[in-house]
Amino acid sequence: MKILIVDDHVLFREGLAAIIRPQSDIEIAGMAGTVREAIELARTVKPDIILMDFNLPDGSGVDATRIILDEQPDCKVVFLTMSEQDEDLFAAIRSGAKGYMLKNMHPPELVAALRSVQQGESALSRAMTLRLMDELSRTKKAIGRPAENTLTLRELDVLRAIATGMSNQEIGNHLFISENTVKFHVHSLLAKLNLSDRKEAANFAREHGLVK
């Protein structure tokens, strides 16, 4: 497999090359230190895998990845970065990367990850896998039961009032709106939150800290 290394940190980049060179099944096709160099080299050498740093002097590895994958969709990009920021991880994955690994990994892990990616698997550092799982879990919960931030401010007022045990008429008086309008808001918020009745709505409000 042909590897392109993209990193502006000279010691790190040359170190990666020193780790990879002894591997008989892996060839270093080129090394780049900027987004521009990465795009140009990728066009020239057509690598199987690109080891991509996240922050580069003239832009982001995400920018480079989008352009390269647009031109060479079969190329596999694996981010190798110091960044443990969730937004960087998600941006990298959204750009089409097959992996996101942290630079604190050990050399044998890197070589093993490259071979896995070449065989069609993804490569994620353990810490980043956990973050991704957390995010997916949160997204799944949000899909199953939309969060309270999908409600309008008035619906939130009504939900809080329901949680305090007020009737529709009492809520109307409290918010200076008609009882019919309250009924409309109750119906709407139950539907948005995928709840069946006022009791569930009250529980939801307490669980999400909307009432003390």
């Binding site: 010691l11 790190f12 020193a18 780790i19 630079k103 604190n104 050990h106």
Partner: protein
């Protein structure tokens, strides 16, 4: 007789080592790279110490091994200005390097000790114009 004063290290094969370097790092890719590049110099004696063992261990090993150069990682050093000051203050012959995992920089620290011959030495140091040969 104390041969350590020679500042040279002899290996089992009696090869004279011209430099003793301590690398205080982690078991990661950059540490591996730095060690790889340094150990490729056969005339240098490179000792890797895990930063997980703490600053006191490093200070103790510097005392034991009497290195010419100590290399530390900037992330570790940010919280360890005490380490830099201690080592440089007590060992004027030592050069310290910090390697940044994020930035493509090496920072170099060393202590400059000046024997004062004239008051003008003080003035010229302050003015940044001191030249030892003057």
């Amino acid at each position: 007789m104390d041969f350590s004063a020679l500042g040279k290290i002899f290996e089992d094969d009696n090869t004279m080592k011209s430099k003793m370097v301590i690398v205080w790092g982690q078991d990661d890719l950059l540490s591996w790279a730095v060690n790889f590049f340094l150990t490729s110099r056969k005339d240098w004696n490179v000792v890797s110490l895990s930063s997980e063992r703490g600053i006191d261990f490093l200070i103790q090993e510097v005392e034991n091994l009497n290195p010419d150069v100590v290399i530390v990682y900037q992330t570790k050093c940010v919280n360890s200005a005490r380490l830099l000051m201690h080592l440089l203050y007590t060992r004027p012959e030592l050069t310290m390097l910090t390697v940044s995992p994020q930035e493509n920089f090496i920072e170099v620290y060393s202590k400059k000790q000046i024997f004062v011959q004239e008051v003008s030495d003080l003035i010229s140091v302050v003015e940044g114009e001191y030249h030892p040969a003057h």
